[in-house]
Symmetry: C2
Subunit: 133 residues, 2 copies
DNA sequence: TCAAACAAGGACTTTACATATCTATAATAG
DNA sequence: CTATTATAGATATGTAAAGTCCTTGTTTGA
């Protein structure tokens, strides 16, 4: 039960982009070097963030990735859902009447976690912490 | 990011054992049939619960698995940890100074979830719900 | 106008782990 | 002694994550 490395990369990339907040887009090559991951793999991950509307990509020379206007509202949950999907962590594979009681318990716990992740914006983190990247 | 099927089986087996609370142990064959899983595989899972001290096994004819004395205190978190391990869901694989701010956020969210799972005892669930197994 | 710099995406390989299965061993009741 | 039961090692299978390679298309600036 672990978040994937892709989620790790996505969160860190968003941290970099948010901490930088430049008009000039950052290329995937630079972002990949910082995280010690291959550029092609990272680009696949970032494309998911683009499709989720969190960042935008600029093709061509001096292109790269850049935050969109709504960047201050992006939460941890947004990023995690964009990469991991938003399905529940638990599926009862057994059939006992109307609704599995175990499922209900796990779901309520999951919601507590999501609530925390929804309330934590990446921009707050950048403000709070004296980021050492 | 999903709990494994093994966790599903473990939780349901504990539900069955708790709902039954018999002196007579239940064999793995019966427990496996109810969940439509192979007995040998389920036995490997249940051995983990034995080693975690949640249930005990009785070898030989009329043997099987049975709750231990502390059964009323067993929480969802106990069971999940016995199967999944208790490592964090997130490991920052990047090195930025003392402590990753992302890690901290995810950990705090994880703790909220664990708090819920720790407070929910399997025995409470059996009492609350009119179990239809 | 052309070459270099960039992202997107399809196809593929590799790796890792979950999910089993098979078989042998050991214990116990009757 | 035999049937029944758990334990455990070895091995197979399946599946998803992680990563690579190559092609295509777009844009800038020389």
């Amino acid at each position: 039960m672990k978040y994937s490395k892709a989620t790790d990369y996505a969160l860190h990339t968003m941290l970099f982009l948010t901490a930088a907040t430049p008009q000039k887009p950052m290329g995937v090559k630079l972002l990949a070097e910082r995280q010690n991951v291959s550029p092609t793999y990272l680009s696949k991950i970032l494309t998911k963030l683009v499709k989720a509307g969190m960042i935008e990509s600029i093709t061509g020379v001096n292109g790269g990735y850049r935050l969109r206007r709504n960047w201050e509202d992006i939460s941890f949950l947004d990023i995690i859902h964009a990469i991991e999907g938003s399905a529940s962590m638990f599926d009862c594979s057994f059939d006992h009447g109307p609704g599995c009681p175990i499922q209900k318990v796990v779901l309520s716990a999951e919601e507590k976690m999501e609530e925390q992740l929804r309330n934590q914006k990446m921009s707050d983190l950048v403000r709070e912490v004296n980021i050492v990247i």
